[in-house]
Amino acid sequence: TQLLEQSPQFLSIQEGENLTVYCNSSSVFSSLQWYRQEPGEGPVLLVTVVTGGEVKKLKRLTFQFGDARKDSSLHITAAQPGDTGLYLCAGPTLAGGTSYGKLTFGQGTILTVHP
């Protein structure tokens, strides 16, 4: 069974601080995705990482895929109140060699950025 574990589960910080969210697994994933979810809405894709060691930047957000493709991290620089939300990592669920687009999600990290 593929599992994705995120840490920390909760993060409460002040505006301007930096933070890192981790997504770890004992399984190798062909790719990992990061989603952001705001209250009352569905998750929205932020990024997909597919190559071991890959680093992607999205404004103040930096995403990294581990060399062994078993882990990923999300780093936010100078957090702002607008970054508040639930951050989810997800990877393809493999069954018989194909995922059919199915995803296994981590349990999420709830980020609150205080002004």
Partner: protein, 114 residues
């Protein structure tokens, strides 16, 4: 394009009642999914479909049924509601031709079973 739409937004059910959660997408996606999201538990896959007439179970299918008669619609049926089915339900779809397989989610249906 409206994307993925879900109805209702919120519903309260009594134990033993049944209901259908509606999901429609206007992006001509063949692959569609139903997830449930419990507090602190991430999203878990209930059922999925790779095209009209083709459905299969996900991780937590017990107590639910689905059908897929058209490309656009993928309703989720609860036959005998139980308190354990209190959750937020999300429908999603992907363009299977897309390399990165972005899942497009609806806004969710919040269900409370009392």
């Amino acid at each position: 394009n409206a994307g993925v739409t879900q109805t209702p937004k919120f519903r309260i059910l009594k134990i033993g009642q049944s209901m259908t959660l509606q999901c429609t997408q206007d992006m001509n996606h063949n692959y569609m999914y139903w997830y449930r999201q419990d507090p602190g538990m991430g999203l878990k896959l209930i059922y999925y479909s790779v095209g009209a007439g083709i459905t299969d179970k996900g991780e937590v299918p017990n107590g639910y049924n689905v059908s897929r008669s058209t490309t656009e619609d993928f309703p989720l049926r609860l036959e005998l509601a139980a308190p354990s089915q209190t959750s937020v339900y999300f429908c999603a779809s992907i363009d299977q031709r897309e390399v990165r397989k972005t899942q497009y989610f609806g806004p969710g249906t919040r269900l409370l079973v009392l």
